[in-house]
């Protein structure tokens, strides 16, 4: 899993990841890149820090990756999520899905980010004009 799932402090290079995930039988790669927004719920954000329960996060991302490949019939998926201190506009997450055709590529990519947002133990703390705020995400059912 070394090359397809990464939870890391460092930034990533989207072009390198694109070249890694694409393949001759794939006709496309659909990517989602999450970045640090300068505002949230009406508050201005100056920076962000992300905490991770790393061992579990990697395990959950591997499960999501395998489930998604199976469910949507796509060729490959790479997921990289950063943690630590980030500034506005910094990259947070890269999800790249290589697929034979675009409908399953879009659907699979969207599925990965939706699942990530409820199942993967990562937490954002936003530094706002009102102070530090832990972001609480979507409900886990």
């Amino acid at each position: 899993m070394d090359n397809v799932i990464k939870v890391q402090r460092e930034d990533f290079n989207a072009d390198d990841l694109l070249n890694k995930v694409k393949s001759p039988p794939s006709g496309c790669v659909v990517c989602f890149i999450g970045t640090v927004r300068d505002h949230s719920k009406g508050r201005e954000i100056s920076r962000m820090s992300i905490e991770v329960y790393e061992e579990m996060a990697v395990k959950q991302l591997e499960m999501i990756r395998e489930e998604t490949i199976e469910k949507f019939g796509v060729n490959d998926i790479i997921i990289v999520h950063r943690y630590g201190d980030l500034n506005v506009e910094d990259n947070i997450v890269f999800i790249g899905v290589a697929a034979g055709h675009r409908p399953e590529g879009f659907d699979a990519c969207r599925h990965v980010i939706e699942e990530l947002k409820v199942r993967v133990p990562l937490w954002k703390k936003e530094y706002t004009t009102d102070g530090e705020v832990w972001v609480e995400g979507d409900r886990h059912e």
Binding site: G34, I50, E51, V52, Y53, E55, M56, A57, K59, Q60, H81, I92, V93, I113, L116, K117, V118, R119, V120, P121, L122, W123, K124, K125, W134, V135, E136, G137, D138, R139, H140
Partner: protein
């Protein structure tokens, strides 16, 4: 038996701890240890959503915790 529990994100702030060892009765379930932790920390008791993972996996509330299990408490996740 002794169970090591870990706290993440706002739960670490609420408990003031990264982790601690709890003395609980043998055969305790996930729900049981969650009630135990809620009993210690009022701020966690007030949270509607208290997620518990055992050995890096979300489990059923009636799953039994065994000595040596890795138990983690945290609020709803917010990555992505």
């Amino acid at each position: 038996m002794k169970i090591k529990v870990k706290y993440y994100a706002s739960f670490r702030d609420m408990t003031g701890k990264n982790e601690e060892v709890l003395e609980v009765k043998d055969g305790i379930t996930v729900k049981g240890i969650r009630d135990h932790v809620r009993g210690i920390y009022e701020k966690i008791a007030q949270k509607e959503q208290v997620l518990v993972a055992v050995n890096g996996t979300f489990t059923q509330l009636d799953e039994v915790i065994k000595e040596g299990d890795d138990v983690a408490f945290f609020p709803p996740v917010s990555g992505g």
